[in-house]
């Protein structure tokens, strides 16, 4: 799809949307500027031209409505895939997602269901304006009845988005926009979904387990490479589905390595990393040879872009944390 053979993450999103629009007439794409404009990040580029205005709809500027009407469409058997333009504007969907999307099946004992996807680009690092760099996945990850899925590569974006759209329950699908175009890899548009609710072990290692998701998978893998040069073999786990958590994979890995560093961009307190560390403290305690360390955004407001580099965890911080953990006797 791209000049030099590879596919970017945002192109993979586009491929997955097109594939499902093609395959399943109940799929509709909706959101602000998703039509003619193809989305402010081009995730929906060309879809309206190809599938028509009835399948790819520009909505009025109203996020609560976007989430709420998706509930209505989904209850009627459609599979709405709604885009929220930036995660900073997703918070007014919380009422609908928590009170309705996540509960419709349970409330009606399965009579009505809510197979919807709420997509949003998230995270910092692209020098964007205020409110355009949020990472608030933990808010959604606390809500029973939801799934929260975060891809970290083009291939996983493709396969996980297919899975999210096909899933019979509501999925919040968060796309790390910092790597929308930063990396390319061959993506076969073969309609093969990847499993939800499962971590991906991206690198095996016996010395320490690095647990992460989204854009920071890149820095974490780079750190693992650097560590390998120092004789430390790090296992790298991409959590991918942060709700519900595949704790078994993480526990099994830490049972082998005895050490765990969790890396995420969101503010530390109450981030998804807290849940992972808590699970280790509950069910992996005896396997721990060192404290569980979190390398995360600070408990501050994401700063405007001039200082955002200070906020974002980077390879150096990951390395420092891992070295600390390794030295721990």
């Amino acid at each position: 799809m791209s000049e030099n053979g590879g596919t970017t993450l945002v192109e993979a999103v586009n491929l997955a949307l097109a594939r499902e629009l093609e395959r399943d007439p109940s799929v509709v794409v909706l959101g602000e500027d998703v039509g003619v404009n193809g989305g402010v990040f081009r995730a929906t580029a060309g879809l309206q031209r190809r599938f028509g205005e009835a399948r790819v709809l520009d909505t009025p500027l109203a996020e609560t409505l976007i989430a709420g009407m998706s509930v209505g469409l989904a209850a009627q058997g459609f599979r709405p895939v709604a885009e929220i333009q930036f995660m900073g504007f997703i918070h007014s969907t919380l009422d609908q997602m928590l009170n309705h999307a996540a509960r419709l099946r349970n409330r009606t004992r399965g009579r009505l269901t809510c197979p919807m996807v709420l997509r949003a680009p998230f995270g910092g690092g692209i020098h964007a304006p205020e409110h355009h760099s949020e990472s608030t996945e933990a808010l959604f990850a606390h809500i029973p009845g939801l799934r929260v899925v975060i891809p970290s590569s083009p291939a996983r974006a493709y396969g996980l988005l297919l899975a999210a759209i096909r899933d019979p329950d509501p999925v919040v699908f968060l796309e790390p926009k910092r790597i929308y175009r930063a990396l390319k890899e061959p993506v076969a548009d073969d309609g093969q979904a990847l499993p939800l609710d499962a971590c991906f072990v991206l690198r095996e290692g016996r010395d320490v387990t690095l647990v992460t998701w989204g854009a920071l998978v890149r820095e974490t893998l780079a750190a693992a490479d650097t560590l390998a040069g120092e004789g430390v073999e790090a296992e790298v786990i991409d959590v991918a589905t942060v709700k519900p958590l595949d704790t078994e994979t993480i526990l099994a890995s830490v049972a082998r390595t005895g050490r765990c560093v969790i890396v995420h961009e969101a503010a530390r307190s109450g981030g998804v990393g807290a849940e992972i560390a808590a699970v280790l403290a509950e069910r992996g305690l005896t396997t721990l040879l060192a404290p569980v360390v979190r390398v995360t955004g600070y408990d501050t407001v994401m700063p405007l872009y001039r200082l955002e580099h200070l906020y974002l965890p980077d390879e150096a911080r990951i390395l420092a944390a891992v070295r600390g953990v390794m030295e721990y006797a």
């Binding site: 109203a62 409505l65 009407m69 009845g145 519900p244």
Partner: protein, 358 residues
């Protein structure tokens, strides 16, 4: 300065509070016998309401929201909607729900704190009660859009109260329905109160109907205690929507003769005289008077009806009370289509009898 846009809000009433026709009746109402069904539905709703309140008072039901004084709305809506239409209700649409085939035992289950009350065996696509006010308007937009996308001649009806019209999601829904000219009727039960906040403190808009002006479509007021006017206006709005004429906002002007819910004590914030004054508008009496005057309703029929309603309601109560509680596992079994592995242990722990905290 030039005038670039003009709007009006109309008001419809056919029967005055005494039941006398004040305008030429619509076709369906000229044969008074045809109004009997409307009347019966209102009486049944009132009987159910009274029983539900009584059950709550004796601890056999949870908090309940009566529709006392507002029965004409549900009865008329029940007749105006086609079975294949979809109702998207708030918590005060008991009458319409019954009319559309939700079992009274299901309603009791819902208010009795049991999720099975929302697994309607009747109108399978109707939405369950929405407690967060106005939030259901957005769902109705999605439902109506689904009809449009599938080219089905069906209509969604979203119902909420006067207080709910202050919420942003109400307006977002109106606006979207306007943009897409959706087959969607917004019905507002303007019962003058949102718990303790009177209509005058809720909005400076002279009418609730005019809120549709903001979204570019028709809003109209109707006497919400006049079942004939309600049915006429709702039927027209629903048929207009069905034929591609777009949405309508219908404001039904009525009064909440009851407390907000059984958890409320309205005497704290509104004078008894205001309430008793509104009893003169009672929609049930109004239609009965009309039927009686037309020779279409007699004392014996009234007695038989009350008796029948009491029996129907009693049977529903018996059904409600005979149903064993749900299984503990039900806390988990409807959360997702398939229980995620991460939740299996919690479910097992719950079944073992709580705990299972690692």
């Amino acid at each position: 300065m030039t005038t670039v846009a003009r709007f009006t809000v109309d008001y419809t009433r056919f029967l005055d509070p005494s039941g006398k026709a004040v305008a030429e009746l619509p076709a369906f109402a000229r044969d008074p016998a045809s109004l009997v069904a409307l009347y019966r539905a209102m009486v049944l709703t009132r009987a159910f309401d009274a029983r539900a309140v009584a059950l709550q008072r004796t601890g056999r039901l949870g908090t309940y929201a009566s529709t006392l004084g507002q029965e004409a709305i549900g009865a008329a809506l029940g007749e105006a909607m086609a079975p294949e239409d979809v109702l998207v209700p708030s918590y005060r649409e008991t009458g319409a729900q019954i009319a559309r085939g939700v079992r009274m035992s299901e309603l009791l289950l819902y208010w009795g704190g049991d999720e099975r009350g929302s697994r309607f065996t009747g109108p399978r696509e109707d939405f369950p009660v929405s407690v967060p006010v106005a939030s259901q308007s957005c769902h109705a937009v999605g439902v109506a859009l689904a009809f449009r996308l599938r080219n089905e001649p069906r209509v969604a009806v979203s119902v909420c109260g006067d207080g709910a019209t202050s919420k942003g999601d109400f307006y977002e829904s109106l606006n979207a329905a306007g943009v897409w000219r959706l087959p969607l009727v917004f019905l507002v039960n303007n019962n003058q109160w949102a718990i303790s906040v009177p209509r005058s403190r809720q909005s400076a808009a002279e009418t609730i109907a005019q809120k549709a002006v903001a979204a570019g479509f028709r809003g109209e007021q109707v006497d919400g205690n006049d079942a004939v006017a309600l049915r006429a206006v709702l039927e027209a709005a629903i048929e207009r929507a069905r034929k591609g004429g777009g949405p309508t906002l219908v404001e039904a002007l009525t009064y909440r003769l009851c407390d907000h819910t059984t958890a409320d004590d309205a005497s704290r914030y509104r004078p008894a005289e205001e309430v008793s004054g509104h009893w003169a508008e009672d929609p049930v009496v109004r239609l009965r008077n009309h039927l009686v005057a037309a020779g279409a309703w007699r004392k014996a029929e009234e007695e038989a009806l009350l008796d029948e309603c009491a029996r129907t309601v009693e049977a529903a109560v018996a059904e409600y009370e005979s149903l064993p509680p749900q299984d503990p596992a039900s806390l988990f079994d409807y959360l997702y289509a398939e229980l995620p592995a991460a939740l299996r242990e919690q479910r097992e722990a719950l079944i073992r009898g709580g705990g299972g905290d690692e």
